[in-house]
């Protein structure tokens, strides 16, 4: 058995795993950033519509977006993007955009949940001081909502990292694809997949730890 691992890591091969990991992390981070930007905008539009009855058309568009991207498999979305919509872009960009746009739909719902959990009294206090609706949203509601949305957001990020393992299908050398490649040479599938699984796990554990730290820092006002 140890022989299998030795073969799987032989020569320069151990470096490939880290190159794959780098690709996986780049896609994940890029995608979550895109997802956050889309998610926050969509959530704010839906929330503004609910609270103030404005932005009706924008809200409709957001609803359609969320329905489509949550209702279809990300694998199919990726293939469609690659084959039809974003043909002219590099594979990495397609990967980041696919997962970013997909994740945006989930992040939007997570943040909207956080926004709607904020007591109306907070909005009233803000507007009674003469702050504009936008200022109330930005300085009072959003910071509190983000704090509440952090745990489910963390889950979304972890799910996203693991989801990116399908990106090999369109030819991007991510962590999982590296394992496939090595197996193609060694004809021994067990060890590379175990190595890759452990690497995903370590990344997720580190991330969980970091987000817990952040949560702790943000919740200092609870004590």
């Amino acid at each position: 058995m140890w022989k299998n691992f030795r073969i799987a890591l032989k020569g320069n091969r151990w470096k490939w795993y880290f190159e794959g990991l780098q690709t996986t992390l780049t896609i994940s981070l890029g995608a979550i950033l895109v997802g956050c930007v889309i998610g926050i905008i969509v959530a704010l539009i839906k929330y503004t519509n609910k609270k103030y009855g404005k932005l009706k058309i924008a809200r409709r568009i957001c609803d359609v977006y969320i329905t489509i991207f949550r209702g279809t498999p990300v694998y199919v979305q990726m293939l469609l993007m690659w084959l039809v919509i974003l043909v002219s872009l590099s594979d990495m960009t397609i990967a980041i955009l696919t997962f970013g746009i997909n994740s945006g739909a989930y992040v939007a719902e997570i943040i909207r949940g956080g926004l709607e959990s904020i007591d109306d009294g907070q909005l009233e206090a803000g507007s009674s001081l003469g702050l504009s609706k936008l200022q109330v949203l930005w300085h009072i509601v959003l910071p509190q909502a983000i704090r509440r949305a952090l745990p489910p957001f963390c889950n979304e990020f972890i799910a996203l990292i693991k989801e990116t393992s399908i990106i090999g299908t369109i030819g991007v050398m991510d962590l999982t694809k590296v394992a496939d490649n090595i197996i193609g040479r060694t004809r021994e599938p067990f060890a590379p997949y175990i190595i890759v699984a452990v690497m995903y796990l370590v990344v997720v554990l580190i991330l969980t730890f970091l987000l817990r730290l952040l949560e702790k820092k943000l919740s200092r006002s609870d004590k």
Binding site: S127, S128, L129, L131, Q135, I140, R220, S221
Partner: protein
Amino acid sequence: MEQQEKNTVLSVKNLHKYFGKLEVLKGVDIDIHKGDVVAVIGPSGCGKSTFLRCLNRLEEPTSGRIEFNGETVFKKERREWKAAWKALQAKKGTDEYDQTAVNEAKLAYQELRKKEKATEKSIQKNLDKHRQKIGMVFQQFNLFPHLTILQNITLAPVKLKLKSKEEAEQTAMDLLKRIGLEDKANVYPSTLSGGQKQRIAIVRALAMSPDVMLFDEPTSALDPEMVGEVLKVMTELANEGMTMVVVTHEMGFAKEVANRVIFMNEGVIKEENTPKEFFENPQDERLKDFLSKVLM
């Protein structure tokens, strides 16, 4: 006459408010002058909180007129038209049904809506400005839990660019010193008692140097022990000449501090008087009943 108008801070005319079909305010009229301390009392569900919240339009009135420092902050008078319209329609089918009058009413309605829209547009432009000068204190304090006390107080003045950060912090510290809570400047609201939170909430409103302060049952969510400290701050404010409208169940405060006491019931002001007359010689039957229950 002019002098008097100048001194009117809030002027409310024929204010109506519906929640769906339920009419909560059925025509409230009142002028509040500079330096007035108006205590609003009444049984629960009588519309007193709704009335107060309509004054800075946290609650949207249905019709009527509100002026703040002589500037319109709410004006909708469609109700009068509706009454006239109903009267016209009631005659439908009879000989008296007057088609020309109906047509005129329709035209008048369109005119009215156009005017209302224009008024509302100009009001919305300035509403936030007006609200800066109408301080409000809530039953549930509504401090911002993610900000320190100092940040709670300075947020609005700084973000609205009324003061620099340093100035705002200086004012905040001065105000905190006055209520003896300067050592709490850098803690978060969750560490404070209810009474302290409410005093901070008052200071937060004061930091905007408002022309009038609205209090919505400021002591109702407090432990009995802490009511006193909040009333003390409010009394000091009143003595300094702050114009205040206070919805309250604290009869002692109404009696000692207010210069006008108002009894609201079923969506209208049933009785208004000086505290002395109000408590010693109530006229309205429902008020007598109410006072006998709360004063014992």
